[in-house]
């Protein structure tokens, strides 16, 4: 068996953890300590009663590295479940960005027009600026932000990716 020649691919992993102090530090420490990439990481409590949080991680690596990342995550004591959304079939991933654009005249009008195409909403405006809210997959957000660049882009805040499997099954 050889894997060294295999190429890196992007993978989205969902991790269900006990919402206890330090759990996020454990996950992040695992990635930095072992030299894995984090392209995006989001976390929030998803079950208050049982005090469970869900962490969504977008990472990349060869299949052998991805397998290792999952095994290492599973090894953490407060981890309930690790799920490879990329491997386990279709899933939906979404990210939200707030994008601030400062411009007047033609550029200002153009930014509104682009926002409409992307179904971004205006959530704040002054006479010389807009804040757009845009939801979509990471590719869509990149495209939008790239288009805003020449139109007076001054600030971006992104949530990172949240993802869930398609179909009726829970994690």
């Amino acid at each position: 068996m050889t894997t060294e020649t295999e190429t890196e691919k992007q993978t989205t992993i969902a991790v269900l953890v006990d919402n206890e102090p330090g759990v996020l530090a454990r996950v992040i420490g695992l990635f930095s300590g072992r030299g894995y990439n984090i392209e995006s990481l989001t976390v929030a409590e998803v079950n208050t009663q049982e005090s469970l949080s869900r962490i969504t991680i977008v990472t990349s690596g060869t299949p052998m590295v991805i397998e290792q990342i999952k095994a290492q995550l599973e090894r953490l004591v407060p981890v309930h479940k690790v799920c490879d959304l990329t491997m386990d079939g279709a899933h939906v991933d979404r990210e939200l960005a707030l994008v601030k654009v400062k411009s007047t005249g033609e550029a200002r009008v153009e930014s509104l027009r682009v926002a409409e195409i992307f179904r971004a909403r205006v959530v704040d405006s002054t006479s010389e600026s807009f804040v757009f809210e845009i939801v979509g997959n990471t590719g869509k957000l990149h495209a939008f932000i790239d288009l805003m660049e020449p139109l007076g882009l001054v600030d971006v805040s992104r949530t990172g990716v949240a993802a869930i499997a398609r179909g009726s099954r829970p994690l």
Binding site: M64, A71, E74
Partner: protein, 587 residues
């Protein structure tokens, strides 16, 4: 408040007692005063006062490895806690179950840079299997029970519990262990039977098989060693052990090829290189084993049994990975092997053994003996010969050449009698570890095979040894060098011995006397036997200063970055040492 409430320190001690703890290795300080006050008032649990917290950790490791139980450490906050970091890392690397209890400043001061405050759960997050900060006295008992469960279950390891001082004086309720179950951590013990069948089919078709076995068998318990022995004899396959696995299979068995890896035997390494089926059992494909990965056993099908899924396919991709406890898996494997009446190609196997015997005939552990200077290998052979008939001998080591010579020349028939720092390679491990072993086995013959440089790193523990009258024997192979590092300098850095000569060494005989122990010395080969005999017969602690050849090298050796079939067998091989540039950056 219910009547049966106790304070935190009482709850802690009750939980320890319920966990079957009979000894704690510890060192007091302000933050743990309430706990020490409770220790003073009871006598169910013995406290061994070490001289440095690192010593407590290694003592607990030695205790754990030689008994199969969880070792327990108690230290104060701040510097007491940070002094355990090396020991925790050591226990993590070698999968040793230890629970380390650290004092902490009161909860309301945490985060204030209070006196002797250290964020020890933050500091040790990556060098413990898990850690806890207890903020509520009512969760204390539960947390302690969980800590023991996590430390000993699955792949064992160190667990730290941080105990703020106010929690240890607050009143609260006790939770018995019977009421504690873990929400998430439930390691898999039984292997997948279909994979076991597949593995047996592959093994039954093998022409050149090898069983590569490691510390996981020791972790599993003595029953796993028995099952391994049964399985090896059932199959007639050759068996090799890692440094951590020594004792898992009897060294006297003809099916044993000796240790493998960087300083392993010629026959074990060539068999690993040339096999067509490799079965790794409780071993983790460490880089000391694999050498250059691209050339590691290039033509074999690989089967791997390990309780930790992250060990499988980590360094070396395998064809069949079986997650489970080696004891359980071996039991099933033996059943399947017998049920399927597996009958490997006996003719091919005989051919394979013929090659192995040819490699064996090289007698790779041979060395030039001398009548003038004591060869370190000779001293160890004599130590082995003069102690092998006793069944209560426990060997610990420090780190360096002496450690590898001990692994090569001391032959173990049983598990749990050999403790060494394999993964982290911690100089200063052996003396405190021997102390922990001796506490667990007061009557046994416990010997720390030491290097003069390593032993000084925790020499203060001689004082603990004196206090508790532990008859630990320290057998120093004194070459006046950090020999292992000097060897690399000789082979790879043109003999430029930068900072590896041990200037101004103490007189170890006088040092022994200063610590109320007996000091002995051998400077000539003819004195070795007498010194060993006297050491064994002395019922007190002994430091034996064995003055060995200063420039002896440890062979065989696979230089880092080389493959198994590029092994250096002895001094004659040095000239053509094939160390690549890639190899030079490896350790």
């Amino acid at each position: 408040m219910a009547d049966d409430q106790m304070n935190g320190s009482q709850i802690l001690l009750k939980a320890l007692e319920e966990q079957g703890v009979d000894v704690i290795f510890g060192y007091p300080g302000g933050a743990v005063l309430p706990i020490y006050d409770e220790i003073f008032k009871q006598d169910a649990i013995r406290h061994i006062l070490v001289r440095h917290e690192q010593g407590a950790m290694h003592a607990a490791e030695g205790y754990a490895r030689s008994t199969g139980k969880v070792g327990v450490v108690l230290v104060t906050s701040g510097p007491g806690a940070t002094n355990t970091v090396t020991g925790l890392t050591d226990a993590l690397m070698d999968s040793i179950p230890v629970v380390c209890l650290t004092g902490q400043v009161p909860t309301h001061l945490i985060g204030n840079d209070a006196f002797q405050e250290a964020d020890i759960t933050g500091i040790t997050r990556s060098c413990t299997k898990h850690n806890y900060l207890v903020k509520d006295v009512n969760k204390l008992a539960r947390t302690v029970h969980e800590a023991f469960y996590v430390a000993r279950s699955g792949r064992p390891g160190p667990v730290l519990v941080d105990l703020p001082k106010d929690v240890m004086t607050a009143m609260g309720d006790y939770t018995p262990v019977s009421r504690v179950t873990h929400r998430t951590y439930k390691p898999r013990m039984k292997g997948d039977i279909n994979l076991i069948r597949r593995a047996v089919d592959i093994m039954a078709a093998a022409k050149r098989p090898i069983l590569y076995c490691g510390g996981g068998i020791i972790n599993s318990g003595p029953a796993a060693s028995q099952l391994l022995t049964e399985f090896v004899r059932l199959t007639g396959f050759p068996c090799t052990l890692t440094v951590m696995g020594l004792g898992a299979f009897p060294a006297s068995d003809p099916l044993y090829l000796g240790m493998l890896g960087m300083h392993g035997t010629y026959e074990a390494n060539l068999a690993m290189h040339g096999c067509d089926v490799m079965v790794a059992i409780g071993a983790r494909f460490d880089d000391r084993i694999t050498g250059r990965l691209a050339d590691f056993s290039p033509n074999s099908k690989k089967i791997h049994i390990d309780i930790d899924p992250s060990s499988i396919n980590k360094n070396v991709p395998v064809d069949v990975g079986i997650v489970g406890d080696v004891g359980h898996v071996l039991e099933d494997m033996i059943k399947v092997w017998k049920a399927e009446q597996a009958s490997p190609d006996r003719k091919a196997l005989a051919e394979w053994w013929k090659s192995i015997d040819r490699w064996r005939a090289r007698d790779c552990l041979r060395y030039e003996n001398s009548t003038k200077v004591i060869k370190p290998q000779y001293a160890l052979q004599r130590l082995y010969e003069l102690t092998k008939d006793r069944d209560d001998v426990y060997i610990t080591t420090e780190v360096g050449q002496h450690q590898m010579w001990a692994a090569q020349h001391y032959r173990f028939e049983k598990p749990n009698h050999w403790m060494t720092s394999g993964g982290l390679g911690t100089m200063g491990y052996g003396l405190p570890a021997a102390m922990g072993v001796q506490v667990a086995h007061p009557k046994a013959l416990v010997i720390d095979i030491a290097g003069e440089a390593s032993v000084i790193m925790n020499i203060q523990e001689m004082s603990t040894i004196a206090q508790y009258r532990l008859p630990v024997k320290v057998f120093i192979l004194n070459n006046e060098y950090m020999g292992m590092v000097r060897q690399w300098q000789e082979l790879l850095y043109g003999g430029r011995y930068a900072e590896t000569y041990m200037h101004s060494l103490p007189d170890f005989v006088k040092l022994a006397e200063a610590f109320q122990a007996v000091g002995l010395r051998a400077t000539k080969p003819g004195e070795v036997d007498d010194v060993i005999r006297e050491m064994i017969e002395t019922d007190r602690a002994v430091i034996a200063d064995i003055r060995v050849d200063k420039l002896e090298n440890c062979f065989p050796m696979i230089p880092s970055g080389a493959a198994h079939n590029e092994m250096l067998l002895g001094p004659g091989d040095e000239a053509e040492a094939p160390v690549s540039e890639e190899g030079m950056v490896l350790v």
